[in-house]
Amino acid sequence: MLRQRVIALILLKGDLVVQSFGFNLHLPIGKLDIVLEYLELWDVDEVIVLDIDATKKNNTVNFDMIKAASKKIFVPLTIGGGISSVKDIELALHNGADKVAINAGFFNNDGFIEEAVQRFGSQCIVLAADVMLRGGSYFVWSNNHQYKPVSVTEWLRDAIRVGAGEIFINSIDNDGKKTGFDMDLMEIIEKNSSVPLIAAGGAGCPFHIKQLFDRIDSAAAIGNILHHKEHSVSLIKGYLVAKNKNVRGSHFLNYNDCIFNPNGELSPTEHLSIFFKR
């Protein structure tokens, strides 16, 4: 049976990995290759790397850095940031990406998505939207409000029409709040699309991922909670396996039999007892 995916969402500002809060405050984490090496070791299912400054700077994500960081990463890698032509996609794929995420490039789409789908197949194209709730409706915003916001259902219809292989939805409202995913938003996307969905924005603890998996047929993209914590992905998977969620367990670092608190975290004493049991 197809597993529900726990995806690491790694945000870059230029060459620096950051945490993001509300799309406007960013805290530095460190170097991409080191972050990826640990996530791979902790059995993450996939990685999405987005350069959030690239479009603003009229640039693309640093392909040389991606290439170097991807050498020992044997899980799927999706790359985004300023990708707006077939040539950009080709460069991404030649530098270690398996898929590309396209956000602003789809907003001012001049037909290149259709061409890219023809050439590389839809499974390679992830269309991404940053979504905000305004006056009771959800709108897609792009590139620091450079473009007029469009209704999320309208955006979704277009994304499916041009042949998106996956839909990536990030909630601007929930970003960095640690209150959980925007379930109403994800439900709208789930109901109006038969393309695989990736939900992002708001996961503050493992329980929030369970909440998403309980209600919605979607992958969970998590970012902030992966950093500053040893074995972060393995711990999350241990909790999800213990809660009978259909996830691919962690092989090397197995936390399946531990006692988790209601948030899905280990208490410090539980940490210690595991240490001594081993």
Partner: protein, 208 residues
């Protein structure tokens, strides 16, 4: 020394495959579709690929790669491993894009997942059920990473493992020294990269 040829017809992420070959220190050459002549012989071939069946076959045929691969596999009995689209290309034909002919190395055809129940493409980690003892893997029920909208339909003699999405479809196929995997071993962590190493072993190389 055993050396593999990795076929590059200009679509998809060749570096994911070559990253694994580097990791296991398996010698290889890229066989680029832009080359003028294809006359070198390798101990085995990897045919990776993502994207459209018809586009891929157009490039493979017009570049001369198709004739070369068929000759190497059929006349010189060189082993070949097709990955994802590369596996589908080993078969007779596909219904994709109004129909296209494949390399015809294994009898069978390629069909699309059509479903109102499940999401397409089939993307993520799914398990394989091994039906037959084989040289690529003996790890039953293991997870591998899939990303595809089409699947292969072939005689059961050619099927090594199946995977369940909507119905059971072949996830590993084999006929003689011809192998195909529908999932991405190069993106399936240790148990996936081992499959590529095992293929190199059956070509006479690989790493212990």
């Amino acid at each position: 020394m055993t050396k593999l040829g990795v076929v590059n017809f200009g679509m998809g992420n060749i570096s994911s495959i070559t990253n694994v070959l580097h990791y296991y220190k398996i010698p290889y050459d890229l066989i680029n579709y832009t080359e003028k002549n294809f006359d070198k012989h390798y101990d085995g071939y990897i045919l990776p690929g993502v994207g459209s069946f018809k586009n891929a076959m157009d490039t493979i045929n017009s570049s001369g790669l198709g004739k070369y691969i068929i000759q190497e596999v059929k006349e010189k009995h060189a082993p070949i491993l097709g990955v994802c689209l590369g596996m589908q290309l080993l078969f007779d034909s596909s219904t994709e894009g109004g129909g296209a002919r494949g390399l015809g190395l294994i009898e069978g055809d390629v069909q699309s997942f059509e479903s109102s129940i499940l999401r397409v493409p089939h993307v993520g980690w799914n398990q394989i059920s091994i039906l037959k003892k084989n040289l690529l893997t003996d790890l039953d029920n293991n997870d591998y990473y899939f990303d595809h909208s089409f699947y292969v339909s072939t005689h059961e003699d050619n099927i090594i493992s199946t995977t369940d999405y909507l119905h059971n479809f072949p996830s590993i196929v084999n006929k003689g020294r011809i192998y195909g995997v529908q999932f991405h071993p190069e993106k399936s962590q240790l148990y996936g990269t081992k499959i590529i190493n095992n293929f190199a072993k059956l070509c006479g190389g690989g790493n212990a």
